[in-house]
Protein backbone atom coordinates (compact mmCIF):
# COMPACT_ATOMS: atom_id res chain seq x y z
CA UNK A 1 0.00 0.00 0.00
CA UNK A 2 2.66 2.43 1.09
CA UNK A 3 4.93 1.43 -1.73
CA UNK A 4 2.12 1.95 -4.20
CA UNK A 5 1.41 5.41 -2.87
CA UNK A 6 4.94 6.65 -3.29
CA UNK A 7 5.20 10.33 -4.01
CA UNK A 8 7.49 11.59 -6.72
CA UNK A 9 10.91 11.14 -5.17
CA UNK A 10 13.00 13.01 -7.64
CA UNK A 11 11.34 16.36 -7.06
CA UNK A 12 11.33 18.21 -3.73
CA UNK A 13 7.56 18.60 -3.63
CA UNK A 14 5.23 16.35 -1.67
CA UNK A 15 2.14 15.18 -3.47
CA UNK A 16 -0.29 13.67 -0.94
CA UNK A 17 -2.27 10.59 -1.94
CA UNK A 18 -5.86 11.37 -2.89
CA UNK A 19 -9.16 9.69 -3.51
CA UNK A 20 -7.88 8.20 -6.75
CA UNK A 21 -5.39 6.14 -4.81
CA UNK A 22 -8.32 4.42 -3.12
CA UNK A 23 -8.91 2.54 -6.32
CA UNK A 24 -6.33 -0.18 -6.62
CA UNK A 25 -5.81 -1.97 -9.87
CA UNK A 26 -7.77 -5.20 -10.14
CA UNK A 27 -6.43 -8.61 -9.25
CA UNK A 28 -8.13 -10.32 -12.12
CA UNK A 29 -7.09 -9.44 -14.73
CA UNK A 30 -3.95 -8.29 -12.95
CA UNK A 31 -3.49 -4.56 -12.88
CA UNK A 32 -6.56 -3.74 -14.96
CA UNK A 33 -8.67 -0.68 -14.22
CA UNK A 34 -11.85 -2.72 -13.95
CA UNK A 35 -12.13 -6.30 -12.83
CA UNK A 36 -12.05 -8.49 -9.78
CA UNK A 37 -10.69 -6.13 -7.12
CA UNK A 38 -8.97 -6.62 -3.78
CA UNK A 39 -12.14 -5.43 -2.05
CA UNK A 40 -14.17 -8.19 -3.68
CA UNK A 41 -11.68 -10.81 -2.58
CA UNK A 42 -11.71 -9.47 0.98
CA UNK A 43 -15.51 -9.44 1.13
CA UNK A 44 -15.68 -13.06 0.03
CA UNK A 45 -12.89 -13.93 2.46
CA UNK A 46 -14.81 -12.28 5.31
CA UNK A 47 -17.84 -14.46 4.62
CA UNK A 48 -15.63 -17.54 4.75
CA UNK A 49 -13.92 -16.40 7.98
CA UNK A 50 -17.14 -15.58 9.81
CA UNK A 51 -19.03 -18.68 8.69
CA UNK A 52 -16.11 -20.99 9.47
CA UNK A 53 -15.44 -19.53 12.87
CA UNK A 54 -19.01 -19.56 14.10
CA UNK A 55 -19.88 -22.96 12.69
CA UNK A 56 -16.78 -24.43 14.36
CA UNK A 57 -17.62 -22.63 17.59
CA UNK A 58 -21.28 -23.59 17.65
CA UNK A 59 -20.92 -27.12 16.32
CA UNK A 60 -20.07 -28.96 19.52
CA UNK A 61 -23.03 -27.64 21.49
CA UNK A 62 -21.61 -28.61 24.85
CA UNK A 63 -23.33 -27.50 28.03
CA UNK A 64 -19.95 -26.62 29.48
CA UNK A 65 -18.28 -24.83 26.56
CA UNK A 66 -14.66 -25.16 25.53
CA UNK A 67 -12.54 -22.12 24.69
CA UNK A 68 -13.66 -21.82 21.08
CA UNK A 69 -17.30 -22.40 21.88
CA UNK A 70 -17.11 -19.92 24.72
CA UNK A 71 -15.60 -17.27 22.46
CA UNK A 72 -18.32 -17.90 19.88
CA UNK A 73 -21.03 -17.72 22.50
CA UNK A 74 -19.61 -14.49 23.90
CA UNK A 75 -19.64 -12.94 20.42
CA UNK A 76 -23.09 -14.25 19.59
CA UNK A 77 -24.44 -13.34 23.03
CA UNK A 78 -23.13 -9.79 22.63
CA UNK A 79 -25.22 -9.15 19.53
CA UNK A 80 -28.14 -11.20 20.80
CA UNK A 81 -28.42 -9.68 24.25
CA UNK A 82 -26.68 -6.30 24.20
CA UNK A 83 -28.08 -5.19 20.87
CA UNK A 84 -31.13 -7.22 19.83
CA UNK A 85 -32.65 -7.96 23.23
CA UNK A 86 -31.91 -4.60 24.83
CA UNK A 87 -33.14 -2.50 21.91
CA UNK A 88 -35.95 -4.54 20.37
CA UNK A 89 -36.91 -6.47 23.50
CA UNK A 90 -39.99 -8.55 23.99
CA UNK A 91 -40.36 -11.94 22.40
CA UNK A 92 -39.92 -10.64 18.86
CA UNK A 93 -36.25 -9.87 19.08
CA UNK A 94 -35.04 -13.38 18.33
CA UNK A 95 -36.39 -13.09 14.76
CA UNK A 96 -34.01 -10.23 14.02
CA UNK A 97 -30.93 -11.68 15.71
CA UNK A 98 -29.62 -13.36 12.52
CA UNK A 99 -29.75 -10.13 10.53
CA UNK A 100 -28.13 -8.08 13.29
CA UNK A 101 -25.55 -10.77 13.98
CA UNK A 102 -24.60 -11.06 10.29
CA UNK A 103 -24.42 -7.28 9.90
CA UNK A 104 -22.25 -6.80 12.95
CA UNK A 105 -19.65 -9.41 12.13
CA UNK A 106 -19.70 -8.76 8.40
CA UNK A 107 -18.94 -5.10 8.98
CA UNK A 108 -16.54 -5.79 11.84
CA UNK A 109 -14.35 -8.21 9.90
CA UNK A 110 -14.41 -6.05 6.79
CA UNK A 111 -13.40 -3.02 8.85
CA UNK A 112 -10.70 -4.77 10.83
CA UNK A 113 -8.99 -5.60 7.54
CA UNK A 114 -7.85 -2.01 7.63
CA UNK A 115 -5.86 -2.64 10.81
CA UNK A 116 -4.12 -5.79 9.60
CA UNK A 117 -0.72 -5.24 7.99
CA UNK A 118 -0.43 -6.20 4.30
CA UNK A 119 -4.23 -6.35 3.97
CA UNK A 120 -4.71 -2.81 5.30
CA UNK A 121 -7.84 -2.12 3.32
CA UNK A 122 -11.25 -1.77 4.94
CA UNK A 123 -13.74 -3.06 2.43
CA UNK A 124 -16.18 -0.27 3.11
CA UNK A 125 -13.69 2.39 2.08
CA UNK A 126 -15.51 1.83 -1.20
CA UNK A 127 -19.01 3.13 -0.96
CA UNK A 128 -20.78 0.33 -2.83
CA UNK A 129 -20.86 -2.16 0.01
CA UNK A 130 -22.13 0.44 2.47
CA UNK A 131 -24.95 1.34 0.06
CA UNK A 132 -25.93 -2.31 -0.24
CA UNK A 133 -26.06 -2.93 3.52
CA UNK A 134 -27.95 0.30 4.21
CA UNK A 135 -30.41 -0.59 1.44
CA UNK A 136 -30.98 -4.06 2.94
CA UNK A 137 -31.70 -2.47 6.32
CA UNK A 138 -33.91 0.22 4.73
CA UNK A 139 -36.05 -2.34 2.93
CA UNK A 140 -36.18 -4.50 6.05
CA UNK A 141 -37.48 -1.92 8.50
CA UNK A 142 -39.99 -0.45 6.08
CA UNK A 143 -41.18 -3.99 5.35
CA UNK A 144 -41.52 -4.70 9.07
CA UNK A 145 -43.44 -1.48 9.60
CA UNK A 146 -45.83 -2.20 6.73
CA UNK A 147 -46.38 -5.78 7.83
CA UNK A 148 -47.04 -4.74 11.41
CA UNK A 149 -49.25 -1.69 10.83
CA UNK A 150 -50.35 -1.89 7.21
CA UNK A 151 -50.34 1.18 5.00
CA UNK A 152 -51.15 3.23 8.11
CA UNK A 153 -47.49 2.80 8.97
CA UNK A 154 -46.47 5.77 6.80
CA UNK A 155 -48.84 7.99 8.78
CA UNK A 156 -47.55 6.64 12.09
CA UNK A 157 -43.95 7.17 11.02
CA UNK A 158 -44.41 10.72 9.77
CA UNK A 159 -47.15 12.27 11.89
CA UNK A 160 -46.00 12.34 15.49
CA UNK A 161 -48.77 12.15 18.06
CA UNK A 162 -49.38 14.95 20.51
CA UNK A 163 -48.22 17.71 18.15
CA UNK A 164 -50.60 20.67 17.63
CA UNK A 165 -52.18 20.68 14.15
CA UNK A 166 -50.73 24.03 13.17
CA UNK A 167 -47.18 22.72 13.58
CA UNK A 168 -47.85 19.59 11.54
CA UNK A 169 -47.16 21.28 8.15
CA UNK A 170 -43.64 21.86 9.36
CA UNK A 171 -43.12 18.62 11.27
CA UNK A 172 -44.47 16.17 8.70
CA UNK A 173 -42.09 17.14 5.87
CA UNK A 174 -39.21 17.07 8.33
CA UNK A 175 -40.20 13.60 9.49
CA UNK A 176 -40.58 12.36 5.92
CA UNK A 177 -37.19 13.71 4.93
CA UNK A 178 -35.38 12.53 8.05
CA UNK A 179 -36.95 9.07 8.26
CA UNK A 180 -37.30 8.00 4.66
CA UNK A 181 -34.74 10.01 2.72
CA UNK A 182 -31.86 11.00 4.98
CA UNK A 183 -31.79 7.93 7.19
CA UNK A 184 -30.44 5.38 4.65
CA UNK A 185 -27.98 7.94 3.30
CA UNK A 186 -26.50 8.73 6.71
CA UNK A 187 -26.59 5.07 7.64
CA UNK A 188 -24.40 4.11 4.69
CA UNK A 189 -22.21 7.20 4.45
CA UNK A 190 -21.32 7.13 8.16
CA UNK A 191 -19.73 3.74 7.70
CA UNK A 192 -18.14 4.54 4.37
CA UNK A 193 -16.78 7.97 5.34
CA UNK A 194 -15.13 6.80 8.56
CA UNK A 195 -13.45 3.92 6.78
CA UNK A 196 -12.36 6.10 3.86
CA UNK A 197 -11.01 8.79 6.16
CA UNK A 198 -9.16 6.28 8.31
CA UNK A 199 -7.64 4.66 5.27
CA UNK A 200 -6.64 8.00 3.82
CA UNK A 201 -4.94 9.00 7.07
CA UNK A 202 -2.94 5.79 7.14
CA UNK A 203 -1.91 6.30 3.53
CA UNK A 204 -1.06 9.92 4.11
CA UNK A 205 1.07 9.13 7.14
CA UNK A 206 2.84 6.32 5.28
CA UNK A 207 3.71 8.41 2.26
CA UNK A 208 4.60 11.37 4.46
CA UNK A 209 7.10 9.29 6.43
CA UNK A 210 8.58 7.93 3.26
CA UNK A 211 8.92 11.42 1.79
CA UNK A 212 10.59 12.80 4.90
CA UNK A 213 13.03 9.91 5.18
CA UNK A 214 14.11 10.45 1.56
CA UNK A 215 15.03 14.09 2.23
CA UNK A 216 18.68 15.19 2.33
CA UNK A 217 18.13 17.46 5.33
CA UNK A 218 18.79 15.58 8.60
CA UNK A 219 16.21 17.61 10.51
CA UNK A 220 13.55 16.69 8.00
CA UNK A 221 14.63 13.07 8.21
CA UNK A 222 14.24 13.26 11.98
CA UNK A 223 10.81 14.80 11.66
CA UNK A 224 9.62 11.52 10.17
CA UNK A 225 9.72 10.07 13.69
CA UNK A 226 7.07 12.57 14.77
CA UNK A 227 4.89 11.52 11.89
CA UNK A 228 5.44 7.89 12.79
CA UNK A 229 4.32 8.47 16.38
CA UNK A 230 1.26 10.33 15.13
CA UNK A 231 0.55 7.55 12.65
CA UNK A 232 0.64 4.91 15.38
CA UNK A 233 -1.78 6.96 17.48
CA UNK A 234 -4.08 7.36 14.49
CA UNK A 235 -3.81 3.64 13.84
CA UNK A 236 -5.05 2.91 17.38
CA UNK A 237 -7.89 5.38 16.95
CA UNK A 238 -8.77 3.80 13.63
CA UNK A 239 -8.88 0.34 15.14
CA UNK A 240 -11.30 1.65 17.74
CA UNK A 241 -13.44 3.35 15.10
CA UNK A 242 -13.53 0.18 13.00
CA UNK A 243 -15.10 -1.78 15.85
CA UNK A 244 -17.26 1.15 16.88
CA UNK A 245 -18.71 1.65 13.41
CA UNK A 246 -19.72 -1.99 13.19
CA UNK A 247 -21.48 -1.57 16.53
CA UNK A 248 -23.10 1.74 15.54
CA UNK A 249 -24.36 0.38 12.24
CA UNK A 250 -25.90 -2.66 13.94
CA UNK A 251 -27.29 -0.63 16.81
CA UNK A 252 -28.98 1.81 14.41
CA UNK A 253 -30.43 -1.13 12.50
CA UNK A 254 -31.90 -2.47 15.74
CA UNK A 255 -33.30 0.98 16.58
CA UNK A 256 -34.91 1.31 13.12
CA UNK A 257 -36.46 -2.15 13.44
CA UNK A 258 -37.73 -1.36 16.92
CA UNK A 259 -39.19 1.91 15.65
CA UNK A 260 -40.99 0.09 12.86
CA UNK A 261 -42.27 -2.64 15.22
CA UNK A 262 -43.66 -0.20 17.75
CA UNK A 263 -44.58 2.68 15.45
CA UNK A 264 -47.98 3.03 17.11
CA UNK A 265 -46.48 3.71 20.52
CA UNK A 266 -43.97 6.33 19.42
Amino acid sequence: MIALALPAQDSGTFTPPGIDEMHLPAILPWGAHEGFSKQMLLVILSVVIIATFFILAARKQQLVPGKLQFAGEMAYGFVRNSIAKDIIGGRDFIKYVPLLFSLFFFILVNNIYGAIPYIQLPSFSHVGGAYVLAAIVYVTWIGIGLKKNGIKYFKLATVPSGVPWYILPIVVPIEIISNFLVRPVTHSLRLFATMLAGHLIVMLAGSGIEFLVMQENVLLKGASVLVLVGAVAMYMLEALIMALQAYVFTLLTAIYIEGALHADSH
Binding site: A3, L4, L6, I19, D20, E21, M22, H23, L24, P25, G31, H33, E34, S37, Q39, M40, V43, I44, S46, V47, I50, A51, F54, I55, A58, R59, Q61, Q62, L63, P65, Q69, G72, E73, Y76, R80, I94, V97, P98, L99, F101, S102, F106, S123, H126, V127, G128, G129, Y131, V132, L133, I136, L189, L196
Partner: protein, 185 residues
Protein backbone atom coordinates in the same frame (compact mmCIF):
# COMPACT_ATOMS: atom_id res chain seq x y z
CA UNK B 1 3.87 0.72 -10.44
CA UNK B 2 3.22 4.29 -9.44
CA UNK B 3 2.96 5.36 -13.03
CA UNK B 4 0.54 2.57 -13.63
CA UNK B 5 -1.91 3.75 -10.99
CA UNK B 6 -1.83 7.33 -12.08
CA UNK B 7 -2.30 6.40 -15.67
CA UNK B 8 -5.09 4.00 -14.74
CA UNK B 9 -6.81 6.67 -12.68
CA UNK B 10 -6.60 9.24 -15.42
CA UNK B 11 -7.76 6.81 -18.03
CA UNK B 12 -11.08 6.22 -16.24
CA UNK B 13 -12.46 9.63 -17.09
CA UNK B 14 -15.32 10.09 -14.52
CA UNK B 15 -13.68 8.14 -11.65
CA UNK B 16 -13.42 11.23 -9.45
CA UNK B 17 -16.37 11.04 -7.02
CA UNK B 18 -15.87 8.59 -4.16
CA UNK B 19 -19.66 8.41 -3.76
CA UNK B 20 -20.09 6.67 -7.09
CA UNK B 21 -20.30 2.97 -6.37
CA UNK B 22 -18.74 0.19 -8.35
CA UNK B 23 -21.67 -1.97 -9.42
CA UNK B 24 -19.63 -5.15 -9.38
CA UNK B 25 -18.49 -4.53 -5.83
CA UNK B 26 -22.05 -3.92 -4.80
CA UNK B 27 -22.98 -7.23 -6.34
CA UNK B 28 -20.19 -9.03 -4.49
CA UNK B 29 -21.23 -7.49 -1.17
CA UNK B 30 -24.89 -8.29 -1.80
CA UNK B 31 -24.21 -11.92 -2.69
CA UNK B 32 -21.58 -12.32 0.05
CA UNK B 33 -23.88 -10.90 2.69
CA UNK B 34 -26.79 -13.01 1.45
CA UNK B 35 -24.67 -16.15 1.70
CA UNK B 36 -23.53 -15.17 5.20
CA UNK B 37 -27.09 -14.40 6.29
CA UNK B 38 -28.25 -17.73 4.91
CA UNK B 39 -25.53 -19.62 6.83
CA UNK B 40 -26.31 -17.68 10.00
CA UNK B 41 -30.06 -18.26 9.75
CA UNK B 42 -29.66 -21.89 8.80
CA UNK B 43 -26.84 -23.02 11.07
CA UNK B 44 -25.23 -20.56 13.45
CA UNK B 45 -28.26 -19.09 15.23
CA UNK B 46 -30.16 -22.40 15.61
CA UNK B 47 -27.05 -24.12 16.99
CA UNK B 48 -26.35 -21.37 19.51
CA UNK B 49 -29.98 -21.06 20.53
CA UNK B 50 -30.23 -24.83 20.97
CA UNK B 51 -27.15 -24.81 23.19
CA UNK B 52 -28.54 -21.90 25.21
CA UNK B 53 -31.89 -23.63 25.62
CA UNK B 54 -30.28 -26.91 26.65
CA UNK B 55 -28.06 -25.12 29.11
CA UNK B 56 -31.00 -23.21 30.63
CA UNK B 57 -32.90 -26.48 30.88
CA UNK B 58 -29.96 -28.23 32.53
CA UNK B 59 -29.57 -25.42 35.03
CA UNK B 60 -33.29 -25.30 35.77
CA UNK B 61 -33.34 -29.11 36.11
CA UNK B 62 -30.41 -28.88 38.51
CA UNK B 63 -32.20 -26.23 40.52
CA UNK B 64 -35.36 -28.34 40.71
CA UNK B 65 -33.33 -31.33 41.84
CA UNK B 66 -31.57 -29.26 44.47
CA UNK B 67 -34.89 -27.88 45.67
CA UNK B 68 -36.27 -31.39 45.99
CA UNK B 69 -33.22 -32.52 47.96
CA UNK B 70 -33.56 -29.44 50.15
CA UNK B 71 -37.21 -30.22 50.84
CA UNK B 72 -36.39 -33.81 51.66
CA UNK B 73 -33.62 -32.77 53.99
CA UNK B 74 -35.82 -30.28 55.81
CA UNK B 75 -38.58 -32.88 56.10
CA UNK B 76 -36.10 -35.34 57.61
CA UNK B 77 -34.87 -32.64 59.97
CA UNK B 78 -38.45 -31.91 61.00
CA UNK B 79 -39.01 -35.59 61.61
CA UNK B 80 -35.89 -35.91 63.72
CA UNK B 81 -36.85 -32.85 65.71
CA UNK B 82 -40.29 -34.30 66.25
CA UNK B 83 -38.77 -37.58 67.35
CA UNK B 84 -36.42 -35.78 69.68
CA UNK B 85 -39.29 -33.85 71.24
CA UNK B 86 -41.27 -37.08 71.58
CA UNK B 87 -38.32 -38.82 73.18
CA UNK B 88 -37.87 -35.92 75.61
CA UNK B 89 -41.52 -36.01 76.53
CA UNK B 90 -41.35 -39.78 76.94
CA UNK B 91 -38.31 -39.48 79.19
CA UNK B 92 -40.04 -36.82 81.26
CA UNK B 93 -43.14 -38.95 81.55
CA UNK B 94 -41.11 -41.98 82.62
CA UNK B 95 -39.25 -39.88 85.14
CA UNK B 96 -42.50 -38.53 86.55
CA UNK B 97 -43.97 -42.00 86.73
CA UNK B 98 -40.90 -43.33 88.47
CA UNK B 99 -41.04 -40.49 90.93
CA UNK B 100 -44.71 -41.12 91.62
CA UNK B 101 -44.13 -44.83 91.91
CA UNK B 102 -41.24 -44.26 94.30
CA UNK B 103 -43.40 -42.02 96.43
CA UNK B 104 -46.15 -44.63 96.37
CA UNK B 105 -43.74 -47.38 97.37
CA UNK B 106 -42.35 -45.20 100.12
CA UNK B 107 -45.81 -44.46 101.42
CA UNK B 108 -46.74 -48.14 101.26
CA UNK B 109 -43.63 -49.09 103.11
CA UNK B 110 -44.27 -46.43 105.70
CA UNK B 111 -47.82 -47.66 106.21
CA UNK B 112 -46.68 -51.25 106.35
CA UNK B 113 -43.97 -50.41 108.85
CA UNK B 114 -46.44 -48.48 110.96
CA UNK B 115 -48.87 -51.39 110.87
CA UNK B 116 -46.10 -53.81 111.73
CA UNK B 117 -44.94 -51.72 114.59
CA UNK B 118 -48.51 -51.38 115.82
CA UNK B 119 -48.95 -55.10 115.54
CA UNK B 120 -45.71 -55.77 117.41
CA UNK B 121 -46.68 -53.30 120.10
CA UNK B 122 -50.08 -54.90 120.33
CA UNK B 123 -48.55 -58.34 120.59
CA UNK B 124 -46.10 -57.15 123.19
CA UNK B 125 -48.91 -55.65 125.19
CA UNK B 126 -50.90 -58.87 125.02
CA UNK B 127 -47.89 -60.91 125.98
CA UNK B 128 -47.09 -58.65 128.84
CA UNK B 129 -50.69 -58.82 129.95
CA UNK B 130 -50.81 -62.60 129.75
CA UNK B 131 -47.50 -62.89 131.48
CA UNK B 132 -48.70 -60.56 134.17
CA UNK B 133 -51.85 -62.67 134.55
CA UNK B 134 -49.73 -65.78 134.73
CA UNK B 135 -47.48 -64.11 137.21
CA UNK B 136 -50.46 -62.98 139.22
CA UNK B 137 -51.89 -66.50 139.22
CA UNK B 138 -48.53 -68.01 140.04
CA UNK B 139 -47.88 -65.47 142.69
CA UNK B 140 -51.32 -65.97 144.14
CA UNK B 141 -50.80 -69.74 144.57
CA UNK B 142 -47.18 -69.31 145.58
CA UNK B 143 -47.87 -66.56 148.05
CA UNK B 144 -50.68 -68.72 149.48
CA UNK B 145 -48.43 -71.70 149.81
CA UNK B 146 -45.56 -69.69 151.20
CA UNK B 147 -47.79 -67.87 153.65
CA UNK B 148 -49.44 -71.09 154.71
CA UNK B 149 -46.11 -72.72 155.14
CA UNK B 150 -44.86 -69.75 157.03
CA UNK B 151 -47.93 -69.49 159.20
CA UNK B 152 -47.95 -73.25 159.76
CA UNK B 153 -44.40 -73.07 160.85
CA UNK B 154 -45.23 -70.25 163.12
CA UNK B 155 -48.52 -71.59 164.45
CA UNK B 156 -47.57 -75.25 164.32
CA UNK B 157 -49.33 -78.20 162.96
CA UNK B 158 -52.79 -76.76 163.54
CA UNK B 159 -53.05 -75.27 160.27
CA UNK B 160 -52.24 -78.28 158.26
CA UNK B 161 -55.89 -78.86 157.63
CA UNK B 162 -56.12 -77.75 154.00
CA UNK B 163 -59.65 -76.60 154.02
CA UNK B 164 -59.24 -74.21 156.84
CA UNK B 165 -55.94 -72.90 155.69
CA UNK B 166 -57.32 -72.23 152.23
CA UNK B 167 -60.13 -70.23 153.78
CA UNK B 168 -57.68 -68.21 155.82
CA UNK B 169 -55.45 -67.52 152.86
CA UNK B 170 -58.29 -66.41 150.69
CA UNK B 171 -59.57 -64.07 153.37
CA UNK B 172 -56.09 -62.70 153.77
CA UNK B 173 -55.64 -62.12 150.07
CA UNK B 174 -59.02 -60.55 149.76
CA UNK B 175 -58.04 -58.17 152.52
CA UNK B 176 -54.82 -57.52 150.78
CA UNK B 177 -56.52 -56.81 147.47
CA UNK B 178 -59.05 -54.55 148.98
CA UNK B 179 -56.25 -52.70 150.77
CA UNK B 180 -54.42 -52.42 147.44
CA UNK B 181 -57.49 -51.19 145.64
CA UNK B 182 -58.03 -48.65 148.36
CA UNK B 183 -54.44 -47.47 148.09
CA UNK B 184 -54.72 -47.27 144.33
CA UNK B 185 -57.83 -45.14 144.70
Amino acid sequence: MNQLIISAATEGEESASPLTPNVWEMGVVLVGFAVLLFIVVKFVVPMFEKTFAERAEAIEGGIAKAEKAQAEASAALEEYKQQLTDARAEANRIREEARAEGAQILADLKAKAAAESARITEQAHAQIESERQAAVVALRSEVGTLATTLAGRIVGEALTDDERSARVVDRFLADLESQNAGAAK
